[in-house]
């Protein structure tokens, strides 16, 4: 029984070490300039077409889904902010005055890959 306890303690210790190493690593940093441009992923409405996000410099952007019969010139606007720590907020202001805030956590931002998740853990990944 003692032996079992020792093993469990060892494992916990090992996990703590591993976790400790991880937590002591460099914090993740994101370059918002990489966000600028048009990102896409396969549309959920038509697998032959794409859903787009376009991030413009200055914090504006637009999104549309060609699979849902919406073209870029019919895209709906939003504003975006991205902190270096990965707090990624999209603010969709509607024409009727409504505000739809969406907060995400940036996971990956490279020249070709954009990935973020919402507070419920759902991931969204787009590519250039």
């Amino acid at each position: 029984m003692k032996r079992k306890k020792s093993i469990i303690l060892l494992i916990i210790t090992a996990l703590c070490v591993v976790i400790g190493f991880n937590s002591c690593g460099d914090p993740m940093s994101f370059d918002s300039s990489l966000l600028i441009g048009k990102w896409r992923k396969t549309s959920k409405y038509d697998s032959t077409k794409y859903e787009y996000y376009r991030f413009d410099a200055g914090g504006n952007g637009a999104t549309w889904d060609e699979g849902d019969d919406v073209s870029e010139n019919e895209a709906q606007p939003f504003t975006w902010t991205l902190t270096s720590t990965g707090d990624f907020t999209l603010l969709h202001k509607g024409e009727m005055g409504q505000v739809v805030p969406k907060t995400y956590t940036m996971l990956t931002l490279t020249a070709t890959t954009l990935s973020f998740k919402d507070s419920y853990g759902e991931r969204y990944t787009y590519y250039k």
Binding site: W64, Q76, G94, G97, Q98, V99, T103
Partner: protein, 1027 residues
């Protein structure tokens, strides 16, 4: 003339006295010339004041017994007066007188058997002071002639003979000059106290008579005069024959008679006592034209009462005109006459120094021809008839002319004229009745080139005008009134307006009795016709049945002003075609005025009528029970759009109209509409409209129509819409797609279903609504009020407030049909003081977004702002959906159900009421996810936060929920799952609590603050528009 006779009488008497003196001398000196001549010379010298001389006197008695004859050779009297042509008063080479001495001595009868003067000259002169050279006989002023002169019982004059005697007469006082050569006179006569007879042959040559101060001059190479007469008591019966050759009569340098022969036959009966002369069948032949005279003249005091008849045969009119002096002929220079004429007349009335008798004349015309220079297109012929003239030359008197049944023909037109001409010698005022059969084509030369009339007409016209007005075609001053019955009337104007009448009656009046405010009407023509058609090329075809047209026209002779026309019309039926539009109307009446200017042509039109029916092809039908229309138009050919070309301005009132069009499936009726329309402004003063199940009153102003039609601006409107009942969906379909581009119109609905509502383009319409009862689908609305704006493809319901049985509501909605498969809809919806169950009834979609709301009861306020794009079948384009909603309520009741009862059994005390103090929910909708932000619910001693995210629009197809008890203990649970693939719901318990300190500022975390900020941002944005 009287003066000349007086002078002649004096001369003659003087000669007789001289002869008698000579005879007496002859008695004394026993007939020898040597003795007689000096004696006669002496006697002559003693009895005349002037110088006298004679060569020889022969006296015979026995050889000529019982006649006593005296012959004087070369008798001369000389009396010099300044100014006289000659000192010689008298020079007679041979003077013979023979008297029956025995008759005179025994029977007191003077019988002058021979008296002759041969080869003599007489020079009579009166100077400016009235001194006469022939006043040469001495008078004894010391003796008074107390004994009256007594005529002999019988005077007989036989063989009185004047031969080759010339006479000069010059009266400077009275400015008279007269001379004649070769005076010849043969006279035989007898005179008793009561009876007598005379036979005179008289001739003079080279008569030259002149009134020096009045430029009157008469000349004739010869006058022959024969007089035969008998006297019985006071009655003298005789005949005068006169021949005047080549008479020249000049006055004021005007030749009134130019070398015309005149002969006169004058049978006369004279009543000396009554001072009356009676003519019967006297004839005056002037230039071979015979005038027959009859009648009488009577002298009463200083007046002559004349009553003569005269007549002629039919004479050539041209021959008569040629006899007129040149100045009078010039009066007729603007016309040419031909034909025959005869005159019967009379001269009647008093003649004295101040009065002239009246002349009455009937002039008969036969086969006359007349060509007026100003009417060369109308040569008149077959002129027959009679005119009666009354000529009164007295001062201020009026002469006139009556025309009786004067007929004429010109071209294909014939006419009969009756009437009269007043002031015949002045302005010639004509009052004429004209009846005629007219070929209206003949009127072409009188009409402007743009106006062509064809047809036949029977006319009965009465005219009032002067000859000058007719000659000048002075239609402004000519008065004309009458009736024309026309057949096959065909009128064309400018090859753009046609009027055709098969049969009609026209009443014409000139000048027009009617006035309009657009132009001065010259004439009015009233046309009554059972069938009349009008065509305005490329614009209008119209047919009128049983119509009456009162047409006023402008001065057609005024070339400076374009032709204008006014028409007051009425008919039993009007059929009209305009482009593809056909219209029929019963009992139409109104006015139409066309008034061209240099720039364009203006029109005024008014129309009253009933039972109007209008069809445009098979696409549009309009029926109107009653229409009152008033307006005008100005045609501008430079404009391309038909409406702008005509630029109409119309005021209209329509009653009980029904409207159908191919593109409008809804049944539309208009019980009443009252509007003013122009391309700039369309004002609906009042209207009541029923479209399917909606009835409403519409009033307001629509502007910018012209700019809209020119594609240079939006059609703008601001109208009030009030309704007892409105089916909003049906109404929307009426206006769907108005003004959309072809690209939008031609796009097929994606689902292949029905066409979506397309918001009108090119318009900026504001509709102020007030609807008592409205229906949207199955939802009933009451007292809907607000503003609906449609602007160039965007429809906005602005601040639309209304109440339903559940709440006070406020809605601002936007609908934009960018294309048929991309329809934007946005809502800003506020329900205040709403019962939750009613809220879910009104907007069932809320249950989809907030499914747990139906577990509560009570009142709260709900705010929703959302937008999405729709496909043509109005299905969502989920990827475009963005929304936010908030609900706040106080003292809400939790509706007991299976789960609540289970919780209550284990968690709540028995006293616990199922009431929560407050509930504040904020949620967002983004694409296919609804996110419920953490909200706190307090019941009994428990405080619970719940939040989550779940799929939309299919509820709970996927969900991730979090519930967190923060009092009396902290405990949380996550519930996550998906309806797809039978994935089971995962419960994770316990999980970390997240919101326990959210309403404790001192302990609130950064994340909790961010959540509160977001909730506030959402709520504030939603409530910002609440009024």
């Amino acid at each position: 003339m009287k003066k000349i006779l007086k002078i002649a009488a004096v001369t003659f008497t003087s000669l007789i006295i001289i002869v008698l003196v000579v005879v007496a001398a002859a008695v004394w000196f026993v007939f020898t010339p040597e003795k007689i001549t000096p004696a006669i010379q002496k006697v002559l010298a003693e009895n005349v004041t002037c110088k006298s001389n004679l060569d020889k006197v022969d006296l015979t008695f026995f050889s000529t017994f019982p006649n006593f004859s005296l012959k004087i050779n070369n008798l001369t009297l000389e009396n010099s007066l300044d100014g006289s042509l000659s000192d010689t008063l008298l020079n007679v080479q041979n003077c013979i007188a023979s008297v029956n001495l025995m008759k005179f001595l025994t029977e007191n009868e003077v019988v002058l058997n021979d008296f002759s003067l041969k080869n003599g000259k007489i020079n009579l002169f009166i100077d400016t002071l009235g001194n006469a050279n022939f006043n040469v006989f001495k008078t004894d002023t010391t003796k008074k002639d107390t004994a009256a002169f007594e005529l002999p019982d019988f005077i007989s004059v036989q063989n009185v003979d004047l031969e080759n005697v010339s006479v000069n007469y010059l009266d400077l006082k009275n400015k008279i000059s007269a001379k004649g050569n070769d005076f010849s006179l043969k006279f035989d006569g007898e005179l008793t106290e009561n009876n007598g007879n005379a036979d005179v042959d008289f001739s003079v040559q080279n008569i030259d008579f002149e009134l020096l101060n009045s430029k009157l001059k008469a000349q004739t190479p010869k006058i022959e005069l024969k007089i035969k007469g008998k006297k019985a008591e006071s009655n003298v019966l005789g005949e005068i024959y006169a021949d005047i050759q080549s008479l020249l009569f000049v006055m004021d340098n005007e030749k009134y008679v130019d070398n015309k022969d005149v002969s006169i036959v004058l049978p006369a009966e004279i009543d000396i006592d009554a001072m009356k002369i009676l003519l019967e069948n006297a004839k005056i032949v002037f230039a071979q034209k015979t005038v027959t005279l009859g009648g009488e003249a009577r002298k009463i005091d200083e007046n002559f009462d004349l009553n003569f008849n005269f007549s002629t045969d039919f004479l050539g009119i041209n021959d008569i005109l040629n006899l007129l002096p040149e100045s009078l002929q010039k009066s007729f220079s603007s016309m040419k006459f031909d034909g025959k004429t005869a005159i019967n007349g009379r001269v009647s009335g008093i003649y004295n120094e101040i009065s002239m008798p009246e002349i009455f004349a009937d002039v008969y015309l036969k086969n006359g021809k007349l060509l007026l220079n100003d009417l060369k297109d109308y040569p008149m012929h077959d002129i027959n008839g009679k005119v009666s003239a009354k000529i009164d030359l007295n001062k201020n008197a009026v002469s006139n002319l009556n025309i009786s049944a004067l007929s004429l023909k010109t071209k294909n037109t014939s006419a009969q004229i009756n009437g009269k001409i007043d002031d015949l010698l002045g302005k010639m005022l004509c009052k004429i009745n004209l009846k005629g059969d007219v070929d209206l084509l003949d009127a072409a030369p009188m009409l402007p080139k743009e106006l062509k009339i064809n047809g036949l007409a029977k006319m009965d016209l009465n005219g009032n005008f002067t000859i000058e007005q007719i000659s000048n075609v002075d239609l402004k001053n000519i008065k004309l009134k009458g009736k024309i019955s026309a057949q096959k009337l065909d009128v064309k104007y400018n090859d753009s307006i046609y009027l055709a009448v098969h049969q009609s009656i026209m009443n014409i009046e000139l000048p027009s009795p009617h006035k309009n405010n657009r132009f001065a009407e010259l004439a009015q023509i009233v046309i009554n016709s059972p069938d009349l058609s009008v065509e305005m090329v490329d614009f209008l075809n119209a047919k009128l049945e049983n119509s009456e047209l009162k047409i006023g026209i402008s001065d057609v002779m005024n070339e400076k002003e374009p032709f204008a026309l006014a028409c007051n019309y009425s008919a039993s039926v009007l059929n009209a075609k305009m482009d593809t539009i056909f219209a029929q109307i019963n009992a139409p009446n109104g006015n139409f005025i066309m008034f061209p200017s240099k720039e364009n042509t203006g029109y005024d039109i008014s129309l009253n009528g009933t039972q109007l029916a209008v069809n445009q092809g098979k696409t549009t039908e309009l029926t109107v029970e009653k229409i009152i229309l008033d307006g005008g138009a100005t045609y501008n050919e430079k404009e391309k759009n038909v409406l702008l070309q005509w630029n109409p301005k119309i005021t209209a009132k329509l009653s009980n109209a029904d409207f159908k069009t191919k593109n409008l499936k809804a049944k539309t009726s208009i019980p009443l509409i009252d509007f003013d329309f122009s391309p700039e402004k369309f004002t609906i003063n009042k209207s009541k409209i029923v479209i399917d199940n909606s009835d409403f009153n519409l009033s307001g102003v629509i502007t910018n129509i012209d700019k809209y039609l020119n594609n240079s601006g939006l059609l703008m409107a601001n109208v009030d819409f009030t309704s007892d009942k409105t089916n909003i969906k049906e109404l929307m379909s009426v206006f769907s797609g108005f003004g959309a581009s072809d690209t939008i119109k031609n796009e097929k609905p994606q689902s292949g279903g029905s066409e979506p509502f397309m918001v009108p383009y090119g318009v900026d319409v504001t509709v102020n609504t007030k609807v008592s009862y409205g229906i949207v689908g199955d939802t009933e609305l009451h007292d809907v009020g607000g503003t609906l704006t449609v602007k160039d493809g965007v429809l906005v319901l602005e601040q639309m407030g209304f109440t339903c049985e559940a709440a006070r509501m406020q809605l601002t909605a936007m609908y934009r049909s960018e294309r048929k498969n991309h329809l934007f809809v946005g809502l800003d919806f506020h329900l205040l003081d709403i019962e939750i169950d009613k809220l879910l009834g009104i907007v069932p979609q809320i249950d989809t977004i907030v499914p747990f709301l139906k577990t509560f009861a009570g009142k709260g306020e709900f705010h929703l702002a959302a937008e999405t794009y729709l496909k043509s079948d109005y299905s969502l384009k989920v990827s475009t959906t963005r929304g936010a909603a908030a609900f706040a309520g106080q003292k809400l009741t939790v509706i007991p159900n299976e789960y609540y009862n289970m919780l209550a059994k284990y968690l709540f005390s028995k006293k616990t009421k199922n009431v929560i103090d407050s509930l504040s929910l904020e949620m967002t909708l983004f694409r296919d996810k609804v996110e419920l932000f953490p909200s706190l619910v307090s019941i009994d001693k428990y405080q619970v936060f719940f939040n989550g995210i779940y799929s939309y629009p299919v509820l709970m197809q996927k969900y991730d929920l979090h519930a967190e008890l923060v009092a009396p203990l902290k405990l949380a649970v996550d519930i996550k799952g998906s309806a797809k693939d039978d994935v089971k719901t995962l419960f994770r318990f316990p999980v970390k609590t997240r919101y326990g300190n959210m309403y404790k500022p001192e302990k609130r975390t950064e994340l909790q603050q961010q959540i509160l900020d977001l909730k506030k941002m959402i709520s504030d944005a939603l409530k910002r528009n609440v009024k």
